[in-house]
């Protein structure tokens, strides 16, 4: 296997991009990544997208986006693993470069979610859950994560305030990110008084519906050294699956797929959780960030809430989590999220993150998750 590096990153402003189509949102981010790398030709394209069919009635994205990016006839593939589609795209691009199959691969993620109404968006997102064993019985994602939150509170004494603190932290970080959909700060009080969605989760515990895209350019490390930017290596890619129905899990407070994906990634990188300088995790709901921190081995089982409360994961904390604002504040265009996490880590490792820069960041980790944990993808990055 060849060593792989990221030589270009691109992301546009996220939000309700009513005046742009999916292809435009994607190509803007992709061109930013190509410009960042200083190239205009790629050997292959991998796109992560969860549900363009349900959101905008468009499939066959691989060719469509290769065409609109001016790259036909390059090979292109669209990959899907629900909300982990972006992370999976990165993994596929990584494998393609590492294997020697292609030299320069553009990895993109995109989702255009606001062209449908709330009910249709809820339905489309619900397809990431188990239709027959979950959705048909009336539950949606806020409900599933509410069950996880309630169980975590009962089992470990995690408090409602600790959940709110995840949102407060991520919104603070997001307020320093001009590309975030909701770059404003919130207080614990605001979160606790926001509209109830699925008890105990309130609207400010939930990530929003977002249009957006992000892109990375990957190539072998030997080639990357010829470019001007600092070399940021992808030193590990771990992925794992689990039953997608929450009812099939042994313990709904524990995300087994993240645990396995991280275990593989740590082994591949030869790193331990304490070696990591900063982390981007999949905080689709506040409880998710707490569960994921535990599954990544950053804190003991059941101690995630307390860690947030103690400031361990804040920007100045021991291990900053979601410096970008996370899904909560930055937005969650599902297929783009996993790629955007990597964009943030690369910017941080290059020292290009501006006011939210984590000091002396050398090693970063991303964790991207599908559904309620039916799939997880973990990547580790290191600056030379």
């Amino acid at each position: 296997m060849r060593d792989v590096a990221v030589i270009g990153v691109g992301m546009n402003k996220w939000g309700e991009l009513w005046e742009k189509s999916l292809r435009q949102v994607f190509t803007e981010a992709a061109i930013l990544a190509l410009d960042d790398a200083g190239i205009d030709k790629i050997d292959s394209l991998i796109v992560g997208c969860m549900s363009s069919g349900l959101f905008v009635g468009q499939e066959h994205l691989s060719s469509l986006l290769a065409d609109y990016l001016g790259q036909v006839p390059v090979p292109a593939a669209r990959v899907e693993s629900a909300c982990a589609s972006g992370g999976l795209a990165l993994r596929m691009g990584f494998i393609e470069v590492a294997s020697g199959m292609s030299d320069v691969v553009l990895v993109g993620g995109v989702e255009k979610m606001t062209d449908v109404n709330g009910h249709e968006a809820t339905f489309a997102l619900g397809t990431a859950a188990d239709q027959e064993y979950e959705c048909y019985h009336g539950i949606t994602f806020p409900g599933l994560y509410a069950l996880m939150a309630r169980a975590h509170m009962e089992k470990y004494g995690t408090t409602r305030e600790q959940l709110a603190m995840v949102a407060v932290k991520n919104h603070y970080n997001g307020s320093l990110n001009p590309l975030a959909q909701y770059p404003f700060k919130v207080s614990v009080e605001t979160v606790l008084n926001s509209v109830m969605v699925a008890d105990p989760l309130r609207i400010l515990d939930c990530s929003p519906i977002t249009d957006g895209a992000a892109a990375l350019v990957l190539c072998p490390v030997e080639l990357a050294k010829k470019f001007k930017k600092p070399v940021v290596r992808v030193i590990a890619s771990g992925m794992a699956t689990d039953a997608i129905a929450l009812s099939s899990r042994q313990d709904i407070t524990w995300i087994e797929s993240t645990f396995h994906a991280a275990k593989k990634a740590y082994a591949m990188a030869g790193k331990k959780p304490e070696d990591i300088d900063l982390i981007e995790v999949h905080d689709c709901f506040t409880i998710a960030e707490i569960c994921v921190m535990e599954a990544l081995g950053l804190v003991e089982k059941g101690k995630g809430g307390k860690a947030v409360q103690d400031g361990l994961t804040s920007l100045q904390g021991k291990i900053p989590v979601n410096a970008s604002g996370g899904l909560k504040s930055k937005g969650h265009p599902v297929g783009a999220t996993g790629v955007a996490q990597a964009v943030e880590i690369v910017k941080q490792l290059r020292g290009e993150a501006g006011p939210r820069q984590v000091k002396d960041a050398k090693i970063g980790l991303t964790q991207n998750m599908g559904g309620s944990g039916g799939s997880s993808v973990v990547h580790i990055f290191e600056r030379d």
Binding site: E16, W18, E19, T114, N117, G118, V195, M196
Partner: protein, 348 residues
């Protein structure tokens, strides 16, 4: 010089509270109250529709104008709830007030701005010298699907304006319209309830068009927000008018006199026109008033009006809008409301 020579309002007696609607749908009434700044809304009686409310408002406008209805050369009703899909509403109104047959009549439809659209055309015909007097009404028995967010605001009411060149109550100094193709709210033929684009009805729709029209007319007239005593914006909920006012640099106190939505709901085509009748009820000679409507689809009509001394003579000739809103109310439970609004389909 042209302008408004008479105006009248009609608001049904019936009301339903936000709590009563929320109770039926298991919704959280306080968050609707807080989110929409609406407490209750008007509901038409079974015998009230766009035509009857238009007649009522027009008769009051005639009282204030003190003219012979035979001299009205144009009669327009703007509404998205014309009782007939085919057959005009305006002819019934023209007949009822005694303006037929020497009169031009038309029905307008442009979501919530159909009322100001009629006003725009009636005023223009007067300006052109085509007619001596023109009557325009904005009226609606608004529709909102049961359980939809719109159900908490969709209300009923009408406002009528007569335009002329003499005995002017409020001179029309400037008009401006701002229109684009923006599909934020629609109802196709044979659909019973309208559909809307959720959050899309905000920034790219309401706010873009109202700010576009307001800035356009202020530029055209060389006026700035501080020059106006009062401003009326379309009122789909309580929050939007204040937010758009803030964006444009208007103060709360300029908006509040014409802000009826917290107790009235959104009367669609009647919304900003009723805000104007309430404002004229308290305006003083010399006051400048800005009114900006909004209709989904989308567009805004804006008027700069200057109140004359005649206001003091006509104001008390007919019931004032705030009186209609605050007095003689009849609160309905959801069952009667559902019947009145034809939400219950009986066997043929």
């Amino acid at each position: 010089m042209e302008g408004i020579i008479g105006y009248g309002a009609c608001i049904p007696r019936n009301r339903i509270k936000v709590e009563e609607i929320a109770k039926v749908w298991g919704a959280d009434a306080p968050s609707y109250r807080k989110g929409l700044l609406v407490e209750e809304k008007s509901v038409p009686s079974p015998d009230q529709d766009t035509i009857t409310m238009s007649v009522e408002a027009s008769k009051l406008a005639l009282k204030r104008a003190g003219i012979d209805p035979k001299e009205i050369g144009a009669v327009y009703i703007g509404s998205e709830s014309h009782p007939y899909a085919v057959k005009p509403s305006g002819t019934v109104l023209a007949e009822a007030i005694g303006a037929t047959p020497d009169v031009h009549t038309a029905d307008f439809e442009f979501a919530c701005k159909a009322g100001t659209e009629g006003m725009f055309v009636a005023l223009s015909l007067v300006k052109a010298g085509q007619v001596k007097y023109g009557l325009a009404v904005g009226a609606d028995t608004s529709q909102g699907a049961p359980g939809d967010a719109l159900e908490y605001t969709a209300a009923a009411g009408a406002a009528a304006y007569i335009f002329g060149r003499e005995k002017i109550v409020a001179e029309a100094l400037e008009t401006y319209s701002y229109t684009t193709d923006t599909p934020d709210f629609w109802r196709r033929e044979y659909q019973y309830y309208p559909q809307h684009g959720g959050r899309f009805t905000g920034e790219p729709a309401y706010f873009k068009h109202i700010t576009g029209a307001a800035k356009g007319i202020m530029e055209k007239s060389g006026l700035k927000p501080a020059d106006f005593q009062y401003v009326i914006f379309h009122q789909p909920n309580g929050k939007f008018p204040f937010r758009v006012g803030d964006m444009l640099g208007f103060a709360k106190k300029q908006i509040e006199p014409g802000w009826l939505v917290n107790k009235l709901g959104n009367t669609y085509s009647g919304s900003s026109p009723l805000g104007l009748t309430a404002t004229l009820d308290i305006a003083k000679p010399g006051d400048l008033i800005l009114i900006v409507s909004y209709g989904s689809g989308a567009g805004s009509d804006a008027f700069v009006l200057k109140v004359t001394e005649r206001i003091d003579e006509v104001r008390d000739l007919a019931p004032k809008t705030r009186e209609l809103l605050d007095k003689n109310k009849n609160y309905l439970e959801y069952g009667a409301y559902a019947k009145f609004r034809h939400k219950i389909r009986k066997a043929e």
